[in-house]
Symmetry: C2
Subunit: 208 residues, 2 copies
DNA sequence: ATATTTATGTTGCAATTGCAACAATATTAT
DNA sequence: ATAATATTGTTGCAATTGCAACATAAATAT
């Protein structure tokens, strides 16, 4: 994971020195970008917090992804074969670097020292794929219990310990697992009663 | 979609002319690669059919992905935070080209004409992400009916027509949607009875 | 041509899940 | 400090789903 972060810091530094990269600032509530037109645009969030939002056919708003410091997003990462509106909204004041695919490759052509920039971009793709693989792994589990355990195992397998802190609220966890919150709470209680997990506020410990 | 295919044909041609690319042939049933060690290896399946297989903790075998002509796979595309065994097994006689990430970047450093190779690789990543986005979109739907309709809409939104042919059996569709097959059949019947879809063998037509 | 395997279609029943509705905390805004 | 908002925790009940167990049809192997 540190590799990815290192790459992203390198990416930010490099981008700051490239003349085709635009720096922009958005206030809370402003739309940073939409994914209606495909324009192979990358946006690196250097500071702030933003949500990728989708409105479905029924007009229901859903938060698809959350972006924080050093997150890289753009239409290429969220192509989907539906015509739902997708856009990124600033949740706080946001500072971003905007650039596009063609310019990145051109800069590499001109100067071989930018190899690491290309590598950093590749690592972002790989990381997105990792995150999505994890999500699919969890979502393909049939029952709430299996979904929870699958998620817990992924969270603990990154490190040696059998415990971890939830990176978001229980309400959000239910959203992430795409299950009903109250049903999830009930199943968490079952897992505790069965001696399979321990739960102290946001800290989950696996007992197997 | 044709862009991606063009890119892949270009990739195959280019790879054939690169000295660090190894050509290999596997018989049916042989293991093409395992994903136990992370080695940034890419494998282009030039001919044949292969399955990405995972054994979970209970020893249950699951087919995670299916590969056909011109599919590119490798450990980078299937990183996940669990220690389940992952490997690719040839379902027919397979011809593959094996190469790795470092060599590809090196070759670009030496000769700028390989820009298109890098582009082709990027497009593979983007395509994988598209496929995964679609899968997640469908899997996050709560009910079987919503899952089916979401999948159908993705299938039809690629083209103007309201109908399409299932690319796999109904049994596999249930697996893809991660739902019980009989429950899915029942819900398909409901959708037909409600006049929402038409179903003729593998052909599905949306009536809305 | 026949046997074997795989896929489709159907149904009763039990288990799981989602929904609604609420109380109790905790967090954030003014 | 107080109000407003968001999160957590809980439960009865109805609806959906998965399971098991079939029959039938289609595809594949011998």
């Amino acid at each position: 994971m540190n590799d990815i972060l290192n790459n992203l810091y390198y990416l930010e530094d490099s981008l700051n020195n490239m003349n085709f990269v635009k720096k922009k600032v958005f206030k809370k509530g402003e739309i940073i970008t939409t994914y209606i037109a495909k324009r192979q645009q990358y946006i690196l969030l250097t500071e702030g917090e933003a949500d990728l939002i989708r409105y479905d056919i029924n007009g229901n708003k859903a938060i698809i992804e959350k972006y924080f410091d050093k997150d890289l997003f753009g239409d290429v990462f969220n192509t989907i074969y539906t015509n739902n509106e997708l856009f990124v909204e600033a949740k706080k004041k946001c500072e971003v670097l905007i650039f596009n695919y063609e310019d990145i490759l051109k800069c590499y052509q001109k100067d071989i020292k930018y190899k690491k920039v290309i590598e950093a971009l590749f690592s972002v793709y790989t990381d997105k794929i990792l995150v999505m693989n994890n999500r699919i792994e969890v979502l393909t589990k049939r029952t709430i219990r299996e979904k929870l355990l699958s998620y817990f195992q992924i969270m603990t397998s990154r490190k040696l310990k059998k415990s971890f802190y939830l990176p978001f609220t229980y309400t959000d966890l239910a959203d992430y697992l795409s299950i009903d919150r109250s049903a999830m709470m009930r199943e968490l209680k079952n897992l505790i009663d069965d001696g399979i997990i321990k739960k102290e506020a946001e800290k989950i410990t696996l007992l197997f």
